[in-house]
């Protein structure tokens, strides 16, 4: 089964096409073109280079974030429309899982921290498990200094990865050798991992509902936060 993966939740956008035999074509861009200008030409490139056509695709996978609002929206909207027009199943995956999956060969606890802007990071904890990873915490959003306190209080060694970890590295360097900081090559979620993780779901027919699938925001719109603050202070 050929699966098209779309990942646009961070400034590093990527698309990939693969099957149970692995990824056969992918394209990635870290800066320059906006998601909206990049996606369809990039998919066309992958299809052409692999000698394929849209009609060869058996499923669409999409990263649901958390991440940058605009990227997630364009990615999820594109994936939904492709799946709808092709009449193929769709599967959504959290961006944080994708980053953890790429460092699954570590024996340590994995903590992913992606830059959420406004001085915060999206986080989740994982442990390696046979053939993949297992999530040990809910998906969260917190300030890097709070995450550092949480990491400092853990008894086991932690591998900390993601662009949020690198952006606020000085918060975590004081924690010493208990926390190992990942490198730039594992700092972003990637469509390759998305395809690898989704192919088994497609075979299990563990699909998401096309009409109900939406990005994972983890944060209300600024207006709603403001509104709840005002309402909260009035009712108090």
């Amino acid at each position: 089964m050929l699966v098209l993966g779309i990942e646009t939740s961070t400034p590093q956008a990527s698309v990939a096409i693969g099957s149970e035999q692995g990824v056969i074509a992918s394209a990635m861009v870290s800066r320059g073109a906006s998601y909206n200008e990049f996606l369809l030409p990039a998919i066309r490139f992958c299809l052409d280079e692999a000698g394929l056509d849209y009609r060869n695709l058996g499923g669409v996978a999409v990263s649901l974030g958390p991440g940058l609002f605009t990227g997630m929206r364009v990615g999820v909207a594109t994936a939904k429309a492709l799946a709808q027009a092709l009449s193929v199943p769709i599967c959504g995956m959290p961006s944080l899982d994708l980053v953890a999956y790429e460092v699954r060969y570590s024996s340590k606890t994995i903590c992913v921290a992606l830059d959420a802007r406004r001085g915060e990071v999206f986080t989740a904890f994982y442990r390696p498990s046979p053939g993949g990873i297992q999530r040990m915490s809910p998906y969260g959003i917190e300030k890097p200094e709070q995450l550092a306190i949480g990491l400092g209080s853990r008894i086991e060694d932690v591998l900390l990865v993601g662009n949020g970890a690198l952006l606020y590295r000085e918060e975590f360097e004081d924690l010493g050798s208990v926390v190992e900081l990942g490198t730039m090559s594992h700092a972003f979620p990637h469509a390759d991992a998305l395809v690898e993780l989704t192919v088994p779901r497609m075979f299990r027919e563990d699909f998401d509902s096309l009409y109900d699938l939406k990005p994972m925001y983890l944060r209300h719109s600024a207006k709603r936060i403001e509104w709840e603050r005002i309402r909260g202070s009035r009712s108090a």
Binding site: L2, L40, R55, N56, T70, R73, A85, L86, Y217
Partner: protein, 358 residues
């Protein structure tokens, strides 16, 4: 070869005739420029096979206005079902469609992006042209959809929460903006005054309802720019005049009639807008007036313009309500006309929140 392991979805016939855009051309259209999620199928540019409109009014009501981030989130959720419903409603499948049209601007960037991304994706899969449509040009075509006596040339008053402009529509793709608001759109003025008066969102229909119970001559609100020689209007001063009137009355301890305020405010808008529209129509030398946009629902404006047009011998065309508010059918009609002129967009096209009409 490992190729055999790849499962291929049901083969579909791709060969289709592209080029001669005949009477039966089928366009799937998408409109997500503001707070309505809409998908439609239009045949031959004038026949609506389906027109699905999902309103977000309930989502924005508690904030008293449109919240862009909430609007874009809602479009992501509502658009896919709306497209499915539009196809079901027209008894067609994706593979019957000849082209995809979507609003490229003007509008809220986060909202536009969702519609453009989905439209381009569908066009890529179906290998049919994608047409990026100007939302305002779409409004001009709303008049042609339902009324077969409506033809270009005409002078069109596009009046909504986001826009207020007078356009000399000389022909397809040939427009001259004659004038517009120099500050607030008319619908925006209605909403702001309504909010000040404590009326429910959206405020326009509420003011219209109350004004039927009040005296439109009770308060002499200003008619800004009404007697200037050009076709521009201004509503920010009128809004301030309403606020000052109420504050002054309250300071004096007087009881104000909200019905009279609504009626007098609405009459001021209608007087200015009707005068400018008639003057523009005379200046353009045409005999047809198109009224379009959400505020075209206003009963005072409809009546005032109808009377004035009759007096001057102009024919007035007002589309039914579901075509006055933002909808995808008008985008499909406009997109069809653009296809016939060979105006298509690439799959890397991006929305433009400030896209001008000309």
């Amino acid at each position: 070869m490992p190729r055999t392991l790849w499962t291929t979805p049901e083969a579909v016939v791709l060969e289709r005739r592209i080029g001669d855009w005949d009477e039966d051309v089928l366009v799937l259209a998408i409109e997500t420029s503001c707070d309505e999620t809409s998908a439609a199928v239009v045949k031959g540019g004038r026949e609506i096979l389906s027109n699905v409109i999902v309103s977000q009014v309930d989502l924005h009501g508690e904030y008293g206005g449109i919240v862009p981030e909430i609007a874009s989130r809602a479009h992501v959720e509502a658009l896919t079902p709306a497209i499915g419903e539009a196809l079901r409603g027209s008894d067609l499948t994706f593979w019957d469609i000849d082209a995809i049209a979507a609003t490229l601007g003007p509008g809220l960037i986060g909202s536009l992006l969702v519609g453009v991304a989905e439209a381009k994706s569908i066009a890529a899969v179906l290998q049919v042209p994608f047409v990026g449509v100007n939302h305002l040009e779409g409004h001009l075509y709303s008049n042609l959809l339902d009324d077969h006596n409506a033809e270009f040339p005409a002078v069109a008053l596009i009046i909504s929460g986001g826009h207020t402009m007078l356009v000399h529509v000389k022909g397809h793709g040939n427009y001259e903006v004659m004038g517009g608001t120099i500050d607030d759109a008319a619908g925006e003025a209605f909403d702001k005054v309504a909010r000040f008066l404590g009326l429910d969102y959206p405020g326009g229909p509420e003011i219209d309802r109350l004004s039927l119970l009040g005296d439109p001559t009770a308060i002499g609100f200003p008619r800004a720019l009404m007697f200037e020689g050009d076709f521009d209007v201004s509503y920010s001063g009128l809004k301030t005049a309403v606020i000052n009137y109420v504050r002054r009355a309250e300071a004096r301890g007087e009881i104000v009639s909200i019905e009279d305020i609504a009626a007098s405010f609405q009459q001021a808008v209608v007087d200015v807008q009707v005068a400018k529209t008639i003057a523009a129509t005379k200046a353009a030398g045409v005999h047809r007036v198109f009224l379009c946009g959400g505020v075209a629902a206003n009963s005072g404006l409809r009546q005032g313009l109808a009377e004035a047009c009759q007096k001057d011998g102009f024919s007035l065309h007002v589309p039914p309500m579901e075509l006055c508010t933002d909808n995808a059918a008008m985008i499909g009609a406009c997109g069809t006309a653009m296809l016939r002129r060979g105006k298509t967009s690439g799959l890397n096209a991006s929305p433009d929140p400030n896209l001008p009409l000309v």
